[in-house]
Symmetry: C2
Subunit: 298 residues, 2 copies
Amino acid sequence: MSKRIETYLEERKILVDKALKEFMPEPSGLAGDVIRAMNYTLFAGGKRIRPVLCIAGSEAVGGSADDVVPVACAIELIHAYSLIHDDLPVMDNDDFRRGKPTSHKVFGEAVALLAGDGLLTLAFNLMARCGVEKKGEKSALLRVIDLISSAAGYEGMIGGQVVDISYEGKDPDPTVVNYIHTHKTGALIAASVTAGTILAGGSEEEVQSINRYGQQIGLAFQIADDILNIEGDRNLMGKGTGSDKERGKITYPSVFGIKESRNIQRKSIDRAIESLNRFNERAQPLRDLARYIINRKL
Amino acid sequence: MSKRIETYLEERKILVDKALKEFMPEPSGLAGDVIRAMNYTLFAGGKRIRPVLCIAGSEAVGGSADDVVPVACAIELIHAYSLIHDDLPVMDNDDFRRGKPTSHKVFGEAVALLAGDGLLTLAFNLMARCGVEKKGEKSALLRVIDLISSAAGYEGMIGGQVVDISYEGKDPDPTVVNYIHTHKTGALIAASVTAGTILAGGSEEEVQSINRYGQQIGLAFQIADDILNIEGDRNLMGKGTGSDKERGKITYPSVFGIKESRNIQRKSIDRAIESLNRFNERAQPLRDLARYIINRKL
């Protein structure tokens, strides 16, 4: 399984990286700095999990990668924006990510802030522009913009971030940690795979099943992040481990302990794969991805 | 003229405020803080110039306010987000706006940052959701999302902001100040009125004329802001005047002097009104608004 999914991930990642390079502007003109900063974080070695999930969500119902690549790339822009803003001194104050200095360390806080804003705005531009070009799918595209903006917004990722920040140093609480993880990480991951299925013309039942799958792997993904923050290989991850504990972050291990966190994670993955019961072999990458997510090393 | 346009502005503003109240979520749940901060700045006494322009752009080609109110409100959300991020310590570091403490003074920098992100994201959600509800205008709506995200992004407002910040304290330069003003303020103002015309089904020639109008009043609007920052009534504006000079901002008065800035402003307004030649009486509010913009006191 491991080899098969790694090949799948690598092939789709190449496709996504190529499209991102085509979509992104070259730094030039008076505002070249902000474009440079946008590119810097976007091409700082991301795994492209969200865009690959979007493509896999399309393929699971017989769609192609081409159908969804602009939206898949837009989601990666949203992810990159969230990393830049998350790393700022007023938020998590991280100096390194994936072994490289974070945006504000390279470009200063003002440009980093604006680069995040620029990526988020460009994500919606990319979705709308790609839609203008493509005939006959406009209603699916608006639904996807609705879905993604909701998952990225105060009901989703931003809601999770504000709770993550404001509960630092407070007592570990199961309700709070579940809120943080399902919102901060889970919402956009679920939206990524669901968007692919919607754009590929999946039925309403298929869309709902894929969305349930996405919710479950999103939670498992963030628990994996929590565990890597404790047990991860510092050299492989290119950033310090143990930072969650230092900051008093509420995480699954801090609430449930590592052993029980792994149990919850496994149950989530089982539920995710169950959600794919109605799907045939075309959903195999999604099944493999679910297992891959909890076994990853970075 | 003054009385007529003030009544027009007031009536449309009431309509926009009512719609904004309906669209905005109530603060509740674990992430209530960020929703509270989003509402705080949005309802801190804005003039709603951009949404009113959007409505006027619709009415100029026979459309109604109802056709465009969700998009008009979304533009105001984008404007509010830009104020929050602009006021942050790493940007302009403003403690007051419209007589009230700025977002980060009330909610702290992290929540203010996220509230800005939340408003920007919700703006696109609002546009896409409103589109999902409305049949038959999907292609116009995607075009409008494209237009607005481009005007708000690195090619527009964000580009203007990064140049505005990075040229602080540098020698006054006509090319730079023109870039800053047409991008930081002009782009979103032009997009506001143009979006109204597109959504109301204006012809391509009408859309182009209205866009030219918008570019010109956008520049005049920002020059008016520059002049108010020097000569404005501190009590009326609810914030300190003279801040541009203190910070070494490049403005029209700093490059051209106040007298020549007023000349440039007048020429812009003349050109804006000329762009409306093909339009009948329904474009009268746009003509009045152009003159109002340079005579405003706050």
